[in-house]
């Protein structure tokens, strides 16, 4: 059956679906994480060799027991042989136990390290990275891709080595027992290789389709769950269900079935080949026994070995898929880890001492690395400590870029930004941001209690400090009205709190941090008039005595500012106090007339 349905192009072309063959570059990159455990690994490998040797000797002991013990009618040597067999098997048990323990611990250590490295790297990457990389993708990298890596390390690699050792060991044992019978067994090998290769090429295409189907189903599901309110409001359930059932899920169904069809053929084919080999060994070997050229024990051992010879081959072909999906996962992990950190502490970066809060922009220009258009063009600005600056201009004028450069989320392409006369690139980011506060347009709250969210501003603050910060911004009253007061849990996306309330909490957080320089991106969406007033008062309290940069939308913030800076096309086109700017009837006047919104 070939499917008529095909997922949209963005699914089939997505990086997650693309095939990945074994790639030495990726393997080397991942090896970096294994290296620290090289000693444990070699011990485990040694154990594995010992275990394989012991395990391969099993059929040989059976042969000895039959030929030298039972057939020779020698009870003493039979018991001796069985006891040696027992000793060897206990030894095998012990080493096997140790091997599994060591190896899987190493595996977990490696995964732990990989996750830590990824998280650590994520903390350093600049914000422009996060503009490109969605939350979902980051989580897929760290959880799912590292998950496939786990399969790879704990199962695939180990199983592959074990299988290979098993094949080699069995091969040696067979050759040592009888050359002719060995050759007979190997006669089916070319067919086995052919079958495996044919299977692999078909299976790969199938698995790719299945992966596309999973990804398609995932994205359709995600959208429907996130938009479930709209779905219900517009009564789209039936239609959406039909689409899901007849296209998306159907595609999943058909691709899975195609894959299953091919997979269910492969194992029986290997089984038939195994049966052929056994039949050959039995007939030719049996005749040989009758001709007295080999003993019955050899034949019996051989039949046992044939079985052991085919099992690892079958297993290997299964593991190969894991290896492949790991290659893709590994490559994506490395891609993230190798993403260059564009804002980095200089090697000789100093701790920034306690600052007063003067800010200077000297000939600052900026453009993003992937776009040569200047976002800021030769900005010069001198802000005295304690001054409140309102940044005004249309969307895309460059307001946000100015404050991002001040917080050193990006470095200027030209010119420099100075705080108290010190170039930001000369100090550590940590010491700079510790003295800087930021309140963003969409007040982000973490999962946790209200108190924890305020504490985020200064972790060592006392409960009294938290309360007084909340009181100062007028958040205390509504917090007390919540279910558990300060201990109320803020849910995903802060659904239990209104926008205004979240804003007040983020003000309290910033106030608790008591920064010398404050950056504030005012929210555009209107809140009700009472909340608005509370916010106004909170703002006044927050801005007092600090150098503040406000991307202002509220008229009162603008008119109260010590200085208004009008930005257009990456240039400062006007600056001054409200009345001066109104009087000059320039750009500010135009903006003022239309009401200062996007």
């Amino acid at each position: 059956m070939t499917t008529r349905i095909s997922p949209p192009a963005f699914i089939t072309q997505s990086e997650e679906i693309l095939d990945k063959m074994y790639d030495p570059r990726v393997a080397r990159g991942l090896l970096r994480f294994v290296k620290p455990y090289a000693r444990q690994m070699s011990v485990a490998l040694l154990f594995m060799i010992l275990v394989t040797a012991a395990s391969v000797s099993g059929p040989y002991f059976v042969k000895l027991a039959i030929d030298d013990g039972i057939a020779a009618n020698d009870p003493v040597s039979l018991r001796r042989i069985v006891l040696i067999f027992l000793a060897v098997s206990i030894f095998q048990l012990g080493f096997n136990y140790l091997r599994v323990r060591i190896m899987s611990r190493v595996g977990q250590h490696v995964l732990y390290d990989v996750r830590m490295a990824m998280f650590g790297h994520l903390q350093k990457l600049s914000l422009s990275f996060y503009n490109r990389y969605s939350v979902g993708r980051v989580i897929t990298r760290v959880i799912n891709d590292v998950g496939t890596l786990r399969e790879f390390i704990t199962w695939a690699v180990l199983a592959i080595v074990r299988n290979l050792l098993g094949i080699v060991g069995t091969l040696i044992a067979m050759l040592a027992l009888n050359l002719k019978l060995s050759m007979l067994t190997f006669a089916v090998l070319p067919f086995m290789v052919l079958a495996t290769m044919a299977f692999r090429s078909v299976a790969r295409k199938n698995y790719r389709k299945v992966r596309a189907a999973v990804s398609w189903t995932n994205s359709v599901l995600a959208e429907n769950v996130n938009g479930v309110r709209v779905v219900q409001a517009f009564s789209r359930q039936e239609r959406n269900y039909k689409t899901f059932k007849e296209y998306v899920n159907r595609y999943f169904y058909e691709t899975s079935l195609d894959a299953a069809r091919v997979a269910s053929v492969y194992t029986p084919v290997v089984d038939v080949l195994g049966a052929v080999a056994t039949a050959l060994v039995v007939y030719v070997g049996g005749t040989a026994v009758l001709g007295e050229s080999i003993t019955p024990g050899v034949l019996i051992a051989f039949v046992l070995y044939v079985d052991r010879f085919f099992e690892p081959i079958r297993d290997l072909s299964r593991r190969f898929d894991t290896l492949q999906s790991t290659m893709a996962g590994g490559e994506r992990i490395l891609e993230l880890l190798n993403t260059e950190v564009d804002v980095q502490d200089a090697e000789n970066a100093k701790e920034l001492g306690v600052i007063v809060g003067g800010v200077r922009f000297e000939n600052v220009s900026f453009h993003y690395s992937d776009d040569p258009t200047l976002v800021l063009d030769q900005i010069n600005l001198d802000v005295k400590a304690g001054e409140t600056v309102a940044l005004v201009g249309e969307t895309g004028a460059g307001k946000t870029t100015i404050v991002k450069l001040l917080a050193r989320f990006h470095d200027p392409t030209d010119g420099c930004v100075l705080v108290d006369g010190v170039d930001l690139r000369m100090v550590t980011q940590q010491s700079l941001r510790a003295q800087m506060g930021m309140v963003l347009q969409d007040p982000f709250l973490f999962n946790g209690t209200v108190k924890e969210n305020i504490l985020f501003g200064r972790l060592d603050a006392s409960h009294e400090d938290v309360i007084s910060a909340a009181q100062a911004v007028g958040a205390h009253d509504f917090i007390l009205g919540l279910k558990d007061g300060y201990e109320t849990l803020v849910e995903e996306g802060g659904a239990t709190l209104s926008v205004g309330q979240r804003q007040l909490i983020s003000f309290a957080r910033a106030l608790l941090a008591n920064p010398r320089i404050l950056i504030l991106d005012e929210a555009t969406s209107s809140v009700d008039i009472q909340t608005e007033q509370v916010i106004q008062r909170a703002l006044a309290r927050l801005l007092k005595g600090r150098t503040s940069f406000v991307i202002a939308h509220r008229l009162s913030t603008i008119t109260n500012a010590d200085r208004i800076i009008v930005i257009d096309g990456g240039n400062i086109i006007e600056q001054g106090r409200h009345e001066e700017l109104l009087g000059s009837r320039g750009r500010y006047y135009e903006l003022y007339k239309t009401g200062f919104q996007e």
Partner: protein, 609 residues
Amino acid sequence: MKHLIRISTFLKPYTWQVLASLVILLTLTGLNLFVPRIIQSVIDDGLVGGQTMSLARSALLLFGLGLGSAFLNLSHRYISEWIAINVGYDLRNRLYDHIQYLPFSYHDHAQSGQLISRCIEDVRSIERFAGSSIAELVRFVFLSFGILFVMFSVNQSLAVISLLPIIPLILMTSSFGTKIGKLFFAVDSAVGEVSNRLQENVTGVQVVRAFAREEYETNRFEKANKAVFTTWVKVIDEWAKIMPTTNWLTLLSTMLILWFGGGMVMDGTLTIGAIVAFNAYILMMAEPAQALTGLVNAGGEAAAGAQRVLEVLDVAPAIRSKDGAIKLENLRGEIEFREVGLKYQNEKNASLDGINLKVEPNRLVALIGPTGSGKTSFVNLIPRFYDVSEGAVLVDGHDVRGIDLAALRKQIGIVLQTSLLFSDSIKNNIAYGRPEAAIEDVLAAAKAAQAHEFIEGFPNGYETVVGERGVTLSGGQRQRVAIARALLMNPRILILDDSLSSVDTQTEKLIQIALDKLMEGRTTFVIAHRLSTVKRADMILVMDKGRIIQRGTHDALLKEGGLYKEIHDLQLVGQVRFSDEMEMVEDLLGAAAEGEMHENTLMQRRSDN
């Protein structure tokens, strides 16, 4: 276990296939049981007895059995995969549909990521179990009984001796199963925690950076990461114990057979061939017995998956049209609230309390009041997004709980507070509620919502794909598309929940004009903060703490005083001052130096932008 049994009802439509696969499996097992006997005859009749013919016959038989069992194996595998895939398909469909109908109150507290993983990951583990694992389990049972039968019929004492190690093997495996399930659960929640930490860290990255909290965050992540490590190590330690041990126990069986069987051969009570056959039987049984660990594992995963899937399926879609619901085809648009109270789950206070209201068709009702006063809760009751905790909401005199939901909602156009669009073309987004709408209608709706112009500005116009994989629209643009989407429904009842908050003042005015026209002949509910919208309403509801504290027309409410007048005055002051000042600025043109004169007024003035 009980979850697995419950979920197994999904196997019911495939009873025949399940039976067929069992029959095939039974035959296959029977065939497999012959192989050791053939080997035995090779040794005893062929080698020891010296019959070449018997050798040839055995070899042919082995080959034939191999071929036959391969064919059966193939059909068995395919059928069980087929069953699994069908069950998965059905389960996903069922979940998808079920989730669509779960009420808002469920989605308010559900984590979307988890819902999605239930549909994919959990269904997968159930599917895997339903397909291969159950079959393996059955095969193990068949095989065990078959082997027991054959072994005991050949030599009872050797059968007992050789099977001795298999007993602890099975016991260990089953205790492993119960233990590993719990350990895996711990791993899952540890991984969940890592994912939560990440999700938060990435969504809040600006805050983390702004407060220089990278180290703090890394420490928190490290703790979660460490938990993943330790929980996994516990799982591994169990594996490390069981895997080599089960392996060893089968070897022990072989040794016992050699030791005691060897003695019997020397006594002449047993043949060498029988020893070999016994050994082969033990190996045959050991393989599925060892695989049992994996099966128990898969069973545990499937049971956990089934539990999670059932958790979703067990949530009654409380808000669904009941049987015999009235299909109101042509709404007049009369709305009545009778003693309505609403209390969300997990909330301390009621969100609506004692609401009484009757709205005649084609009226414009405006709701105003502080954040959290219950305005959105109020309008959400009309399309029955939530059910009232007390009282009743009536549309055209019928309780909404007795009305066919789809028919009702198709006649209500709603613009939600957050304008969510789907990653599809703008055209399909506007036509979301009426996919069959003619393109002219789509254009007309877009024009009315002041969206036509910016849509035409895109290179692909109405075919422009929006969302993560397409063009990003600004908040104002999204809102206008959402308005067009609601207008295209040509609804009898229109609900606008603060839908003009992120458009600029000029666009707002344009939309307002369009909306004024559209509101004619419809019952309209508007939630707004700006009085300009509210003023013209036939009835203004002033809400506070879940109650209607004032109602009436603009003029009446102004006379009455209270909260409405307060809000009005605050906004009015801003507006009057704004226009005063504009006049003043005009006057002062040319005499710009006099700015200081009106500083006092400027300092206090506020405007609602």
